[in-house]
């Protein structure tokens, strides 16, 4: 329950403006304050209002030119490589995903090449054979088409 003593505490801590008083106590405090003729409340409120006015006059120094320069330099430089990679991949997620995938593919390729040279030679041979197969397939296709025409 709200009391005049509690209103004094609120004014002492939060000042004269009820906007800064705790929300759950504000309405009750304002109601009691309006109804009360306790001179302590009036005096406390007046003193708090004076202090609030003085606080509103407090200035803040300007940001130094050096700090401002450092701040804007930060925006220009550090993530430029990341930005370049983003534009390169046009990747909306974490940049490590496409980069990691490329790196993994590269490492796998090198590992297969080094660890198993015979398999690599077979693969190379298969690649050569494929060219022949394609040629043969072309012939097969022509004869297949011819067969189809004969049907």
């Amino acid at each position: 329950m709200m009391t005049e003593d509690r209103i004094l505490e609120l004014i002492e801590a939060y000042g004269a403006d009820p906007v800064r008083w705790p929300e759950d106590e504000r309405a009750a405090a304002q109601t009691l304050l309006a109804a009360s003729d306790d001179p302590r409340l009036r005096a406390s409120l007046a003193a708090a209002k004076d202090l609030d006015t003085m606080l509103s006059m407090a200035t803040v120094p300007a940001i130094s030119p050096d700090a401002r320069r450092r701040l804007y330099a930060e925006a220009a430089a550090p993530s430029a490589p990341i930005a370049w990679l983003r534009r390169l991949f046009d990747w909306p997620g974490p940049i490590w995903q496409p980069t990691g995938a490329l790196a993994a593919a590269l490492v796998l390729g090198i590992w297969v090449g080094i660890a198993n040279p015979e398999a690599s030679a077979d693969i190379a041979g298969l690649a050569g054979g494929t060219v022949q197969t394609e040629t043969e397939s072309g012939d097969d296709f022509d004869s297949f088409v011819g067969m189809e025409d004969n049907l």
Partner: protein, 220 residues
């Protein structure tokens, strides 16, 4: 079909860029301007658009610095905290970490981050826990002090009185009076109970009244 995500008025100049938004590919030929909302600027900055990040600096650097200064009571440290806050924003946007990065309210994110950084800095000071024993601030008795006060700028006098408060009292007043934080949020940021916060506020305001009493006639 190519669609513009933001209006042409928000895109006055810049290099071609492609953006993904709301599940569709969007062609964007220009960077976000200073009039763009926080969401657009954050999206552009997350893609490495330095101009968008500079717009965020223009928009919030003053506010973040003022907040840091009021909590720390010291310019150099406030500038460092401000710098660190923006560096963290730049970093989380670059990483695209999702939950850690703000998507719309850059100001709120920066204020929260800078506040926490300032409290961390205050905690590292030896004075953070010693405000119970600090003597109440008295009017300066040295010769010529009154004359100096008379000639000092009014705002500067109040500022100096605030800066002379013990760290925890100044931080409490900065958060509740100047930043307008709810009590629970301010208490949580400072790591104290709401009752302790109220006590810090009341003691801080009493000290300020004592310090500024002699100057009240000039100030009001």
């Amino acid at each position: 079909m190519t669609t513009f995500l933001t209006s042409a008025a928000h895109l006055p100049s810049g290099r071609p860029a492609r953006m993904l938004g709301y599940g569709m590919t969007v062609e964007r030929t220009e960077t976000a301007s200073s009039e763009a909302g926080d969401g657009d600027l954050l999206t552009a900055a997350a893609r490495g658009d330095g101009a968008a990040f500079r717009h965020l600096l223009d928009r919030y650097a003053g506010r973040v610095f003022a907040n840091c200064y009021r909590v720390l009571g010291e310019s150099d440290e406030a500038e460092d905290a401000m710098q660190e806050s923006f560096a963290r924003l730049w970093k989380v946007l670059g990483r695209h970490t999702g939950a850690a990065a703000p998507d719309r309210d850059a100001g709120g994110w920066l204020m929260r981050t800078s506040r926490n950084l300032c409290i961390d800095r205050l905690r590292r000071r030896k004075r953070w826990t010693t405000d119970e024993t600090v003597l109440e601030i008295q009017p300066d008795p040295t010769p010529g002090a009154e004359e100096r006060r008379q000639t000092q700028d009014v705002g500067e006098r109040v500022r100096n009185a605030l800066n002379d408060l013990p760290d925890r009292q100044r931080a409490a007043i900065a958060m509740v009076h100047f930043e307008g934080l709810p009590q629970t949020e301010a208490a949580e940021a400072m790591g104290v109970s709401v009752d302790a916060l109220e006590s810090l506020l009341a003691r801080g305001r009493r000290s300020l009244r004592a310090r500024l009493e002699t100057a009240k006639a000039d100030l009001i």
